[in-house]
Amino acid sequence: MSDELPEPIVEKPDETPIMKKPDLDQGDKKKKRKDFWLGVGLWFALNIVVGVCLWGVQFVVIGATSSMSGTNSTLTNLVTLFSVIIGFIPFVVNIGLMIYFVVKKRPQIALGMLAGFGFVLGVAICVGVFLMATCFAMLGSYK
C-alpha cells in the first residue's frame, strides 16, 4: 500500500477560466450537418412540389368554373376564396413542418428549412433593388 496522498488541487490565481464549448464528437457534428442540409433540400423540394400541385389545382378549378360561370358573382367569390385558401396552404405546411421537426428533436432539419426560407427571401429582397415595388395601399381599399 502506498502512503502517498493524491496531489491536492491548487487553483492558480492568475489563470482565468476559459468557457469551453461542449465537445461534440465527430459523429454528432456530421449528423447535425446532414440534418441541416436535409432541411434545406426538403424546403426547396417541398415548396416546388407543393407550388406545382397548387398551381395545377388552381388552373383546373379556375378553367372549369370560368367556362360555366359567365358573370355569376357567387361562383366568382367562391373561386377567389378557394384561391386564397389554396395560396395559404404552404404557410401552414412550412411552419407546421418546422415545428414538427423541433418537437421531434431534429431541430437542425428545422434550421435548414428556415435557412432555405431565409435565403430565398434574401434573394427576393436583393432583386427588389431593381424592381418597382407596389405598396399595399394600392392593393387594398386605400382612400
Binding site: V84, L111, L114, G118, L121, V129, F130, M132, A133, C135
Partner: protein, 253 residues
C-alpha cells in the same frame, strides 16, 4: 420624390428596394457587433436571427390583412407572393411582432434560458431609420396628410404639401437608437428588457405619428396600426405588471 435612386448602365436602382436592403444590412451589422460584445454564441445568434427575419417578413405581410382589409387577401395570404419583389414587404409593425414571435419560438426551441435578444434593440432602430429614407424617396402611401407646416413636402398626385411622415419615423428611430445605445449596459435593461423597451418606445411614437399618415381608419377614428400599437403597449404593461407582482411577492416572503 426620387423613386429611382440612380441607374447603372441603364438599369434603374429603386429607392425603396435599395434602402430596404441597406436597412437589413445595417441592422444585421449592428446585431453582429452587439451580439459579439455581449458574448452571445453564434449557435444561438444564427437560428434566432434567421427565425426573427423569416417571422418578421411573414408578420409584415400577414398584418396587411388587418391593416388594409380583406381585399388584400389574395396577395397577402399567397405564400409564393411573399417572394415576389414587385410587392412591398408590408407593415413594419407587423414585421416587429412577427420577428419577436419568430425569435421567441427559436430561442425556446434551442432551449435558451435567459434572453440575449437585447442585441436586437439598437439594430431594429437603425434598420427602421435607414428603411424609412427609402419610403420617403419612393413617396410610399402618399407620404402623409396635408399640412401647412413649413417642412411640408410635395407628394405625387396632389397639389398641396404633405407631412413627410417617413422622415418623422426615421428621425425618431435615429434618436431612439441613441437612447437604446446609452441604455444598453444599464443593469435593468438586460435579459430582454432593452428590446421590450425599444419596441414599446416605437409603438408609443408610432401611435401618434399615425395621425399624420394616410393609413386606412379601422374603427373609432384609429388605424389598424394604432390598434396594433395599443395591443403591443398593453402586452408590455401586462408583462411588467406580472413581473412586478412576482417581485413584490418574493420580497414579502
Amino acid at each position: 420624390m426620387v423613386p429611382i435612386l440612380f441607374e447603372i448602365n441603364g438599369v434603374p436602382i429603386y429607392s425603396h428596394g435599395f434602402f430596404f436592403l441597406m436597412a437589413l444590412l445595417a441592422g444585421t451589422a449592428m446585431l453582429l457587433i452587439e451580439s459579439r460584445r455581449r458574448h452571445w454564441p453564434k449557435e444561438e445568434v444564427i437560428p434566432i436571427t434567421l427565425a426573427a427575419f423569416v417571422g418578421g417578413m411573414i408578420g409584415a405581410r400577414l398584418s396587411i390583412l388587418f391593416f388594409n382589409g380583406w381585399e388584400t387577401a389574395p396577395v397577402v395570404l399567397n405564400f409564393y407572393a411573399l417572394f415576389d419583389p414587385r410587392i412591398g414587404p408590408g407593415s413594419i409593425i407587423g414585421g416587429v411582432i412577427g420577428a419577436y414571435i419568430g425569435g421567441y419560438i427559436a430561442s425556446k426551441a434551442i432551449g435558451k434560458d435567459g434572453c440575449a435578444c437585447d442585441a436586437f434593440a439598437p439594430a431594429m432602430a437603425l434598420a427602421t431609420a435607414v428603411g424609412r429614407v427609402g419610403d420617403f424617396l419612393a413617396a410610399e402611401d402618399g407620404l402623409g396628410k396635408p399640412t401647412t407646416l413649413p417642412w411640408g413636402v410635395p407628394a405625387p398626385g396632389v397639389n398641396y404639401l404633405v407631412h413627410p411622415a417617413p422622415l418623422y419615423d426615421a428621425a425618431f428611430n435615429l434618436a431612439w437608437l441613441g437612447v437604446l445605445w446609452a441604455l444598453r449596459d444599464h443593469p435593468r435593461m438586460q435579459d430582454g428588457n432593452l428590446l421590450k423597451f425599444g419596441i414599446g418606445g416605437y409603438a408609443f411614437f408610432r401611435f401618434f405619428v399615425e395621425f399624420v399618415r394616410n393609413n386606412q381608419v379601422f374603427a373609432f377614428g384609429l388605424t389598424g396600426q394604432q390598434y396594433a400599437c395599443i395591443f403591443m403597449l398593453i402586452a408590455l404593461l401586462v408583462y411588467y405588471g406580472r413581473k412586478w407582482q412576482g417581485f413584490q411577492s418574493t420580497k414579502t416572503v
